[in-house]
Symmetry: D2
Subunit: 342 residues, 4 copies
């Protein structure tokens, strides 16, 4: 059986990544693609790498007949997403890739995004899309909120440690290095090749990055108390990849055991042997996440490192994995593509 | 039915690329991997991006039981390849990715490679592996010689024009730009990141590149007379990709028609609309080749441009396509992966 | 004696490169910097790499008192430049880096730039800024027109060959590879890091690039007849650099001799030993241009290759070299910085 | 007055960087260059970007007449360096760029480098080359030990905070991102372009990096007690640059004040306004170091970030700055080159 798929916001990188993945998915067919500013173009004009595929032309959202759609991926900018989803049929299965439905608390949403939420009922309905930890809720959900790509990476590192109470909750530092595509396809001077290549820097330093809203929500819920980690993202001259380096206080062997136990049956999460750490180049273009643990020379401290591809496991791959669950398909369908190296 | 596959020379880039592609091929299983200098290691040690796969450990060639193998990919260095293949069972299907069996004429081989051929009988038996032009011979072959990656790109551009006698055979210039992985995983100072990134240069200038042996052989055979093109490769700071820019004398519209006619039924070759030219970034990680034609402002001249991924369509993807033919499988099986962009 | 310098359009890459070079020039002081859209900012805000310099704040052009200025660099977009320069004092020495005064023939200007020239008198007055070939005119000029960066590279390769009548004028092909900064700091989707890095392509194929106007003007004047070369630029994922590969018909040794003779006393032009070709990485950040010649295997054909840094020798370095001449300073002052490698 | 300079180990990146800087230094002349494996070659063969300079040919060390040398830079591999320097004239001024003389305690040297020191007397004599903090000792020294490039970056961040007792000495984390040239020009598989570009990873995780020996020595001496920081370096696909992100516990404003006070008269150290952080791209190719401070959202925590160019301020620029002091030249001579951006 083939499910009919719509993708809203198909002219951005996460939209294109969804099309790339669905191209070899045996149970899905793309029946509608929207991109307001490029409506009327073929997908090959917006993304020539998809030229070989037989795809519908880009249209505006109101040109889509959602009655023919089994599941809709929404890859729109945040704020736009909540407005659009409010206007879609109330029984349509939706995987949203924006930030709009990640935070359950309206006050937290307003704090991090600067405006009141325009669709609080939907916000309440939405299930947080970190597949490995919300699998059953996602299977039953109508609306799933894709996580932030940095937020996913950090949670893969830290959730099992918080749950097992293995680390000091007041001393968690996450130093993250992300690739350029995480910033999207928007026209900003600081995203030009000549500005970015051959250099790197920290940004949103000191606790200003919005993905902290997700960390606070999820880690506090797990711990049963407020948890506020320190988090500094850095922009690195590579197109894909997130490498998260976590500094925690706890026993490294116990931490490695906890991660191993948490993920040993997971198809996409691989815990490396004790003492090894991952590289973004070894997950590029794939839905895999590699995790490593090393004991620090300072007693009682450990370094935990995770690597994933921000566009795949951090966003569109996660979205497809969730869609598979919502449609009762095999969870790994279309997602077992090996990483592309070199 | 699942065919049992061996890959010799699995610790190089073309070996890893074969494993990546076969990973999602429904009709093949890797049963043996050799890598003399890394024998004993797991494939995940040599290539951590393949960690998620259940693969045999790297062994030496003499440890492989070829009776259990349906088809063997040989991704060894040239010269080594002819020695090894001579010693393999005489009825084993082999796709060789080295340069050893590309030239049919022993004198031409010796001219370009500097030593007499050690296996002239095999050289005679081998079929040239440019799939779209030797399809029937490959289907019937036991030993197929993968083409040079540059040689494939140039031939996709020029063969239909020579066959249709549309261009001046004495004025063909091929200016080619190739990515770094084409040089392999060997330890050379000029392949270090600090040497290569942020700069580019021509090499083997003036007709010194060995792939000219293939151009001479194939184009002369097509034309029924000697054809000696000019060919200058350049090394560009990107890991994958070949962009070939051809300067020819002939009518651009007729050239575009000839390319269109030649490739319209080909699954992997896409001729762009007249006046458009391709980019390597839009075929990266895939088996597709994009071809474009533009008329020059100088009357009677045309520019033809082709882009492919040297590791996929230029090497391992081509090899797998040929293996599919040799095993009576669907020719595109395992090869419809969409390019990875960005 | 210190000359007072103004730079108009200082928030672009050529403006910043001028400031970088003047920073270690013993006879120049920057007294005014304009940047309309960033007026009011410090130069360190627009370009943090210039933070260590004591520079005037960015202003609008009308805020500059040109009576205090000895020489003005104009690094504005084309078309804007002709309007602005028309309004500047008629006795102010100006080096213009835009395209506005490169073409002497108003009809040629209109053909390539699509609009009639707004300052035809100035156009007549301007001297073409290819230093090594217009040195005496530049020394005496009030208004010098910086050349196109590609146009400079191609002319360094070809002028001596045309002058010495060593090559077939009807068979000149220039295949050029340029870095990203040549496209400037403008916000275009195709200049984003995620779009450009790891891929490359041809553009303005078939004779559409505006620098052909300069080639036509200069080569025809040298030859005393119309010369129309073929010219295909390619965009390569590196920030700086132009590599021009020329395909000509003539005797390679004679060509090498002619280039050697033309440049042996030039401080910035280095002809490599016969058979060697240059790399952009070896001129990066400098005012040097390396040139090489190789005989092709096809008799009577040669490949000539030149490399320079588009922002330095191709633009701001050339402008400073010309300014030195106009101010009776040592021509090489401030320009002997060694290339930065790696 | 022109000082005569020898550079041992001139075929590596730090050797070439020394030559690049000395090329525009008005008071130094390179009279000897050694490179054992490339002896007999011209410097232009080893480093074509230095082609424009009139330099002595590469020789072996024993071919150098040190009587004609005023100061010798030793850019040899560690361990080799101590052997070579032992055999040089005892009154020759030497700036060593290797790791051999950085650690004052023979036991610490043996712990971090795995072998007993072969020149303990010289080890005692050597002055640690972190210019801004050992200026007077360096002025009087005969033998100066260049610091590790990571060690320099971390110390610029942390020394003033430790001295002023502003941070918790038991909770200092340094997460560092360095460019590829820091690993030198050695032939290692993991330094190939195809391996490194487009990916990044941590290495020497958990306290295994040798530069920790320097941190321990210097910070403990400053604090008057043992200080053992946590330090994780990461390799990033850029040729030049170190970005050090420090996580400390203390008052951010006081920290900013302390850094500002420490560096306000320093020509090469620039403390950014409170709340801003630096980028490696804005110091590339220069001797400058930019430092920034941000208060974390977690009360009592601060993030401090420093950026410098590992080959310049982190190595060869530092060495030249020290040589200037040793030769009673202006400390900034030859070092005020502006960064190269883009």
């Amino acid at each position: 059986m083939t499910h009919k798929i719509a993708i809203l916001g198909a002219s951005g990188y996460t939209g294109a990544e969804l099309v790339r993945l669905i191209a070899t998915h045996p149970g899905m067919e793309v029946v509608a693609l929207s991109a307001n500013s490029k409506a009327g173009q073929s997908m090959a004009q917006a993304f020539p790498h998809l030229r070989h595929l037989d795809l519908p032309r880009l249209v505006t959202i109101d040109q889509i007949n959602f009655a023919d759609v089994d599941l809709c991926f929404c890859a729109l900018p945040h704020k736009t997403s909540q407005e659009v989803i409010s206007s879609l049929p109330q029984d349509l299965r939706i995987v949203d890739l924006s930030a709009d439905f990640r935070l359950r608390d309206p006050a937290a949403y307003e704090k991090w995004y600067g405006n009141p939420h325009a669709a609080p009922t939907l916000q309440k309905e939405a299930v947080y899309g970190l597949t490995e930890f919300y699998r059953e809720e996602i299977r039953a959900a109508r609306l799933v909120a894709g996580t932030g790509c940095n937020a996913a990476t950090g949670q893969y590192l830290l959730r099992p440690l918080i749950t097992a109470r293995l680390i000091d909750l007041d001393n968690i530092i996450l130093d993250l290095k992300c690739g350029v595509s995480g910033a999207g396809r928007s026209l900003k001077e600081n995203l030009l090749h000549a500005e970015l290549s051959e250099g790197y820097h920290a940004y949103a330093v000191g606790g200003a990055h919005r993905h902290l809203g997700e960390f606070d929500q999820e880690f506090s819920a797990l711990a049963g108390r407020d948890v506020h980690i320190q988090f500094t993202p850095h922009l690195v001259p590579a197109n894909r990849g997130i490498l998260a380096t976590g500094y925690v206080q706890g026993n490294a062997d116990a931490i490695h055991d906890a991660l191993h136990d948490a993920y040993e049956d997971e198809p996409f999460l691989h815990v490396l042997p004790m003492g090894e750490t991952p590289s973004t180049r070894h997950v590029r273009g794939s839905n895999f996440c590699h995790v490593g643990v090393v004991a620090d020379r300072v007693a009682g401290r450990a370094i935990v490192v995770a690597a994933l591809d921000n566009l795949t496991k951090g966003s569109s791959g996660q979205a497809l994995q969730n869609a598979n669950l919502m449609l009762n398909a095999n969870e790994t369908e279309g997602l077992m593509l090996a990483p592309v190296f070199p």
